[in-house]
Subunit: 189 residues, 4 copies
DNA sequence: AATGAATGAGCGTTCATTCAT
DNA sequence: CATGAATGAACGCTCATTCAT
């Protein structure tokens, strides 16, 4: 793909994110996308097969963006406890850094008919390193529970909801919530 | 005079819940509602002014259903800590008991353009007793934090996400998560 | 029909006239009529077979109202010239006196599918005395033309248009226009 | 790039005119337009923003068509009296030449809620040369009245009504009516 | 006689998608 | 590649009309 084309594709992606953010996923239409991205109404079909394909691709792209850099941060600390902390902090930071992307991502998770099965699966796969980390923690017996489901919700649900409710929440509050979350499932020493 | 058929109105409500549950809020249309509820396409307009009015009314109705009985349960226990526990348990139970209603409720909270301002306000108002309880707990100095935002997400986000992710999650897991949540913000004694 | 019923029927008629006047014939609906007349949506069907029947009946009623008293006024003057003058003045006065009725009447003449053939025919018939008067005038050879079509438009079109354009036009202007109209087709003596 | 199909737009315009002519403005719907013009139901929206925009544009177009050539005809004669005669004759001819357009134009003038304010204003503006001519005539003191309202109705109402009542009226009758009209407001010499 | 809930056809409009250019 | 005119199904909603009460 040429430079020009990439720019055009990016404009489309940005338009999608803007519209979902400002008007909600229910208001997203190809007409609005084309207008805001300043392309013709047929252009998105060059890059994507149909609406589902477009949303699926953008979804996966965003999932990767959100994930990007996590592995490195985890490697940089030694204890599993710290790794878990870094993981939660990583996503919290990205949720704040990319508010539109976060909104879009969760909008699609709540309306899963809008994306393809495979895109959903791919999204799940990206979370594998995290679940591997949970397994390590369980093996090391540092957690109060062995259930990954429970570990996951205790670590991520509070901070996710906090930022969703108020995207401009202070970093201090975010940190505080993460500490509570980590402590809620780490065994007392 | 032909009486308004409550059964018909209920069929409409159920159809709305079913469709939002199975296909997502983006797929909800009057055509589908009419077909599933086995009423004519004009019938919903006898009960509701327009789509926003319909969704708003069902939303408030469900909010009340979810809330119903909470006050009594809180009164039945004496310590604030127990009251908090009962409150979280109450909603967790109702989220499990009324999975369609839960889905619908959160779908509309994530797409608040679909309901009226007043319905949103009314929904918020119903949560007031809960926030009053937070205030009491803060005054009694039994919590690690004074921020209601933080209290709220620590108590409710994990269990909400848990049930959302897997509506058939066992009661044991739910209980476990609630315990972690409560402990995460209650001061150690 | 009982007193009560007549009152109800009148409320319906008035509602029809008001709506056509304020919002135009295109906005006339049974829903609006029922609401404004404070009757149920089914009530007009007791008095009228359907919409066409209702409009047709009101149309003929109004035609009669507009006509009412003309014969007497014509009898009261002796010369044919004066009779013509009285006739034009009569309608001009009624157009001013019953502005809603005038509007309604001409709205239906411009949208003749809205009333029945027979109602239209009946409306035409009411104009017969006027056309008889034209015949008399032609026989007496006091007019510049023998064509009733021409006589009719010269006498009525200007004053009709004047009042339509500006329902609050002064009586002086109306009189002036009628004089020009009469003079335009009466032979100079 | 597929060019906008002017033939298609014309078919839409013609369908609008036909329907208003045959069934009245109240019967005009996009369904009928699409069917008669043999285009899809969404096609009119390529050319027009909405129904009001469509009717407004066609209205202005027709107003221009009706006006076209008037200025030249007026220039070709010298006396103001002749200019007035030419003006009336011009519109009478066009009313006969374009019966559907005439019907449509007056239908919209009688239902002015159906077109935009600006379209109405533009339509009025086109009549300005005519009203300028009235002013000249008044200044030259050749008329029996100084009221433009009166001049206008005396000149145009009869011939308009004549053609409206019977679109196939003979040219002789039209001429006759125009002569009466002109004479009715021109001072005797 | 009168009501008003219910109907379903039709309304104006938007939409994802196609395809000639 | 890219355009944007064109499509036709579906949308939210209104309507005249019916009929059980």
């Amino acid at each position: 793909m040429k430079h020009k084309d990439i720019a055009k594709k990016n404009r489309i992606t940005q338009a999608v994110l803007n519209i979902v953010n400002e008007e909600g996923i229910t208001s997203l239409s190809f007409g609005k996308i084309a207008k805001q991205a300043k392309v013709s109404s047929g252009t998105p079909y060059i890059y994507y097969k149909d609406k589902t394909d477009m949303l699926s691709n953008i979804y996966v792209e965003i999932k990767k963006l959100m994930d990007d850099g996590l592995a490195k941060k985890i490697e940089n600390v030694s204890s599993t406890e710290d790794k878990l902390f870094e993981a939660v902090k990583h996503f919290a930071e990205n949720f704040k850094k990319y508010p539109k992307e976060r909104q879009f991502m969760f909008s699609l998770q709540n309306n899963h008919r809008l994306i393809s099965e495979s895109a959903r699966a791919l999204g799940m796969e990206l979370a594998k390193p995290l679940f591997d980390l949970y397994s390590v923690a369980i093996e090391q017996n540092i957690l109060k529970t062995n259930e990954v489901e429970i570990i996951n919700v205790m670590l991520f649900a509070p901070v996710k909801w906090l930022i969703e409710d108020n995207p401009d929440v202070s970093n201090e509050k975010i940190q505080e919530v993460i500490v509570y979350s980590i402590n809620s499932i780490i065994k007392d020493r």
